[in-house]
């Protein structure tokens, strides 16, 4: 049962230090809780949906993130000028910047997330690994801290046995990662990983782990209040990845049973509590094919894929983040958390499938969006909007909920059939392919699934009838050569139709 709210100093105004779909999603939560919102925007985002929907909107700077959305000083200044009680950082940008969280604390503005100290302890991969070891959490055999030298790398690899994996300590997104199957490849991989890590993250610290073959990526959502209570909200399966980026996420996982969920959940809670963690966070694990799980890292913020957890638990994570930050105790207990049904999310990107999946910014000339039962879209676009070239290519998250995994897949395919984004290229076709794939449907997926799928050539039987397409092309050309009709009929017959439809 939901506990009644305790009296607490409620926020009156929140500054949302982000853009795109997540800024809009946070704005909606604030609206629902009766809290005014302040949007911030760069020159590229004056016409973005998060600016249009917010109560207040303030200009930050030029398009590059380093001159706008990463300028914590400007953002704190706007928070102070507008009298915002709190700042929600979303994901990306400043969301995992402990210095910014600390600056908020000093400025007397509540940062909606963990305290800077917990963020530092769990945000870096190496310090998080030490914390995980301290609470006895299983993790992949390997070095706890950065490798001091190539010699140490040889020693660790020898101890844990090949195949092994090199990773950047400060990293993410696959940068600085190298798989090594034989001793003789280690030196070259070590040097390449170091230089890639340095370029990407400004630090050449790398560490070494046993390579888990065909692993699944499973993560546990946690929520902790400022009174010592901490809950786990079940797992998300994020094994469908490309270039180490998540493409499709779902909840629950098809391979996690209640006993395993409980073991993973309790381990995640122990880790968070050991560092005084508060607010929402996610503990990421690899799961091998014998149901062993290994700690990977912790994300000290709201995740992109939080909606699938919301749909199966019936909770609203952003509402709860705000209530926690207001100092309220969690309104429920672990026994109140029940998973029901199945949810799957697609990350819709502006990318060109015919051109190496490179980004495809530009104007959205037509937009037909899906709807109806079980479909949620968290989106930051509209027809006529120009998707800027400066930021992440994510346009929207399309999420289906249904009683079973099979029906959630069918529902998502139905919604994809209704979805048209014209003017820019998108990965909508990729989701059709994944969701129709037999391996995906029967669920023996691992983090290598998508790369294997994409290595095959697409099945010949693509949808869409060429004859109809050719005829339609002729109709469009015909319409181009005559004045734009004022009614719904092609060409000159429109007047009679207008009359029939009661428009005269």
């Amino acid at each position: 049962m939901l506990r009644p709210n305790l009296p607490s100093p409620a926020f009156k105004k929140i500054l949302i230090a982000n853009r795109g779909e997540i800024a809009l999603r946070i704005h909606r939560a604030c609206r629902e809780l009766g809290i005014a919102t302040v949007a911030v925007y760069s020159d590229a985002d004056r016409a973005a949906l998060h600016v249009l929907e917010s109560d207040e909107a303030h200009w930050l700077g030029p398009p590059p993130a380093s001159e706008s959305y990463l300028r914590g000083d400007l953002i704190l200044d706007i928070a102070s000028r507008t009298g915002a009680d709190a700042i929600h950082p979303g994901y990306g940008f400043l969301s995992e910047d402990a210095d910014f969280a600390e600056a908020c604390e000093h400025a007397g503005v509540k940062f909606i997330g963990p305290r800077a100290s917990a963020m530092r302890a769990l945000g870096s991969k190496t310090s998080a690994r030490r914390a995980a070891d301290a609470v006895g959490m299983p993790r992949i055999p390997g070095s706890t801290c950065a490798l001091a030298s190539l010699a140490e790398a040889y020693a660790v690899a020898d101890e844990i046995r090949y195949p092994v994996m090199l990773k950047a300590a400060a990293g993410g997104g696959g940068k600085g990662m190298r798989a090594i199957t034989r001793l003789e490849d280690l030196q070259a991989a070590f040097e390449a990983a170091q230089s890639e890590a340095l370029r990407a993250f400004g630090s050449d610290e790398v560490y070494l782990e046993k390579l888990i073959e065909r692993p699944r990526h499973i993560e546990i959502q946690i929520l902790a209040d400022e009174h010592g209570n901490c809950l786990y909200l079940g797992e998300r399966e994020c094994s469908v990845q490309r270039r180490h980026q998540k493409v499709i996420e779902e909840a629950p996982s098809a391979v996690v049973d209640p006993a395993l969920r409980r073991r993973m959940g309790e381990a995640a809670v122990r880790l968070a509590q050991s560092q005084g963690y508060t607010n929402a966070g996610t503990v990421e694990f690899l799961l091998d094919d014998e149901q062993n799980f290994y700690f990977l890292e912790m994300n000290t913020r709201l995740q992109v894929e939080h909606p699938v957890t919301e749909l199966v638990t019936g909770l609203d994570l952003v509402h709860l983040q705000i209530r926690i930050a207001q100092g309220e105790p969690l309104p429920l207990m672990q026994d109140d958390i029940h998973l029901r049904g199945h949810a799957i999310e697609c990350r819709v990107y502006a990318e060109d499938p015919d051109n190496g999946s490179f980004p495809s910014p530009g104007r959205i000339t037509r937009l037909l969006q899906p709807g109806g039962p079980g479909i949620r879209e968290d989106c930051g676009i509209y027809e006529g909007w120009v998707v800027p070239m400066e930021y992440d290519p994510m346009l929207s998250k399309l999420i289906a909920y249904a009683p079973t995994r099979e029906l959630a897949i069918a529902r998502l395919l139905r919604a994809l059939d209704e979805y048209v984004i014209g003017g820019i290229r998108t990965n909508l076709g990729l989701f059709r392919r994944i969701l129709s794939d037999e391996d995906f449907r029967t669920a023996p997926i691992d983090t290598g699934f998508l790369d294997r799928l994409l290595a095959q050539s697409p099945s010949a039987a693509a949808a869409g009838d060429e004859t109809v397409a050719a005829v339609a092309a002729a109709f469009f050309e015909n319409a181009r050569s005559i004045p734009a009709p004022a009614s719904q009929t092609v060409g000159s017959a429109w007047k009679s139709a207008a009359r029939r439809e009661g428009l005269r």
């Binding site: 502006a350 014209g422 109709f475 319409a479 009679s496």
Partner: protein, 172 residues
Amino acid sequence: MKLEVEIEGRLRIVELAPATSSGQYHVTLDGQPLEIEARMLRPGVLSIIIDGRSHRVVLEDDAPAINGNDHALYLDGRRFPYRIEDPRSLKTRRAHAGGADGPKVIKASMPGRVVRVLVERGQAVEANQGVVVIEAMKMQNELKSPKAGTVTEMRVVPGDTVTVGDVLAVID
């Protein structure tokens, strides 16, 4: 109205003529007659019913001219690039497209900002050697020379903003 539509690698000949009642059309496709009920729901969004089958087709009118296609449409979740023209100019253009010889232009295949120029005018390049690097949405794309030769033109400098189809350099 008679049109030649180049679509999915085939040239299709379509004739349209309005029939007596509103929205009805006599259509022939490659000489085969079809009875079609069509409505333009709004500019660029068309409903067609052929033999009781209902289709919604969406025109992507600002489509970039990648692969030399001028237009594209969406049908049942699939994108169909197409071109419409009269047969004479089509043949002309094909004749002019030529073989592997002659100067080659390097065009931007995505919109973005030029972050690096890897060669300069007058420099000799190998086939597949990198020429220009473009960045958009945090991803970089290195454009390569289609053949061995000499850079006869370099039209961009780092910081320039380019859009799809812009000529970046010429190799001869």
